[in-house]
């Protein structure tokens, strides 16, 4: 190997190592990000006071109360925490179960719980028939009054 390569090859190796190994950031380079969130912490225990260690929890959000929003397992002290989605105000329901024992708690978040009514609405058939009735009624009324009177 020519001497040139004896020098260049280690330099390339050092350069590659330099790219691969972690380097210290400049002391004056800083980046601060933050998030404000509400974290809810729950502690589950039996009536005896014994923690529900390892109990399963299921969280239901207000927008889709039939589908679990988050599931998980309590720690050894029966404790877990979560940050609810603030875009879903209303009542958040948390069910905790273990070995045939269970309970559910309801936590209102973001002001008044969202209340949705079971609005009846009109079917397409109903809308169509009602429109036809109105149109026919208007036409019929107009024709009735525009008829020629018999002498």
């Amino acid at each position: 190997m020519p001497i040139k390569w004896k020098v260049i090859a280690p330099l390339i190796g050092i350069l590659v190592l330099g790219l691969a190994l972690p380097v210290k950031a400049f002391a004056h380079g800083a980046s601060i990000k933050y998030t404000v969130s509400t974290v809810i912490e729950l502690v589950a225990s039996y009536d005896s006071g014994e923690p529900m260690a390892g109990a399963q929890f299921t969280i239901y959000a207000p927008d889709d109360p039939a589908t679990p929003w988050l599931t998980g397992v309590c720690d050894d002290e029966g404790r877990f925490s979560f940050a609810p989605d603030r875009s879903q105000p209303g009542t958040w329901d948390i069910q905790i179960r273990q070995a045939g024992h269970g309970d559910i708690v309801h936590i209102p978040i973001g002001g008044d719980a969202a209340v949705t009514g079971g609005g009846g609405g009109y079917s397409k058939l109903q809308i169509g028939l009602m429109a036809a009735a109105v149109v026919w009624g208007s036409v019929g009324t107009a024709l009735y009054f525009s008829r020629k009177r018999r002498a």
Partner: protein, 248 residues
């Protein structure tokens, strides 16, 4: 003749519009079903905390004043008291059901269903256990008939209770969320009866609250007909969810 040809359709269609408007102005509804479940303990039998292998032939329970509620805020059975809600569906009849009906894999017993129930989330349930006025459980609110075996000894037993209890329950707690009724859909609720609370369960640690408070089968080992004090036990649940209970 021409005049009549216009006037009659106008009247008919106007009436149709009024009727349809009235129909559609009603609330969204669906079908709500109410089940009674004695769990695998009743269907498959189990071993009591004192070692009796118990199998059930019949478990007659008489239910009345069954009412499902949509409560907001949700009813808290730990606080007790009456349930009040923005919508309620009541079953007027008295029902005597056999929780042991069917084989060991039988589904829970469908007690009744209501069509035209207002849509929404039924998150509270009330019912009463009352004395049956006729039928196989006449005079009793609960009749448990079966056989228990231990150490080669077999005992045929009939356990009766004539106590009447009211159960005020919150939301069903279990594998699935229940009671959410959508327009034109079907939802169900369940009255769940935990018989391990009476006899205890050999598969549960003996120091568990369940076994500490259960009386086991020994008090009934004499066979024959024995009366049971229901107020001592939390028999009625909604899945694993507890109920507030008052007996008299």
């Amino acid at each position: 003749m021409k005049k009549r040809a216009f006037v009659i359709p106008v009247i008919v269609l106007s009436l149709a519009g009024i009727i349809l408007t009235g129909c559609a102005g009603g609330e969204a509804t669906g079908r709500l079903q109410v089940y009674a479940n004695g769990e695998d303990f009743v269907r498959q039998g189990f071993v009591s905390k004192d070692g009796w292998s118990i199998n059930f032939d019949h478990v007659y329970i008489t239910l009345a004043d069954i009412t499902a509620y949509q409560t907001d805020p949700p009813y808290d059975p730990h606080s007790g008291g009456d349930i009040s809600g923005k919508a309620a569906v009541s079953l007027d009849n008295v029902y005597t059901v056999d929780l042991a009906d069917g084989d060991e894999n039988a589904p829970p017993i469908l007690v009744a269903e209501v069509s035209g129930a207002p849509a929404g989330h039924y998150n509270a349930l009330f019912w009463e256990m009352i004395k049956a006025s006729s039928g196989p459980a006449a005079g009793y609110s609960l009749v448990i008939i079966g056989t228990a075996e231990k150490d080669g000894r077999s005992v045929d037993f009939t356990i009766n209770s004539n106590e009447e209890c009211g159960y005020s329950c919150g939301e069903y707690v279990g594998d699935e969320r229940r009671g959410i009724l959508e327009k034109d859909g079907t939802a169900d609720l369940e009255m769940t009866f935990h018989f391990d609370h009476i006899f205890g369960d050999a598969d549960t640690p003996m120091d568990d609250d369940l076994n500490v408070s259960a009386i086991g089968f020994d008090p009934f080992a004499g066979g024959g007909q024995v009366d049971l004090d229901m107020a001592e036990f939390h028999l009625g649940h909604v899945g694993e969810g507890h109920c507030y209970c008052e007996c008299n």
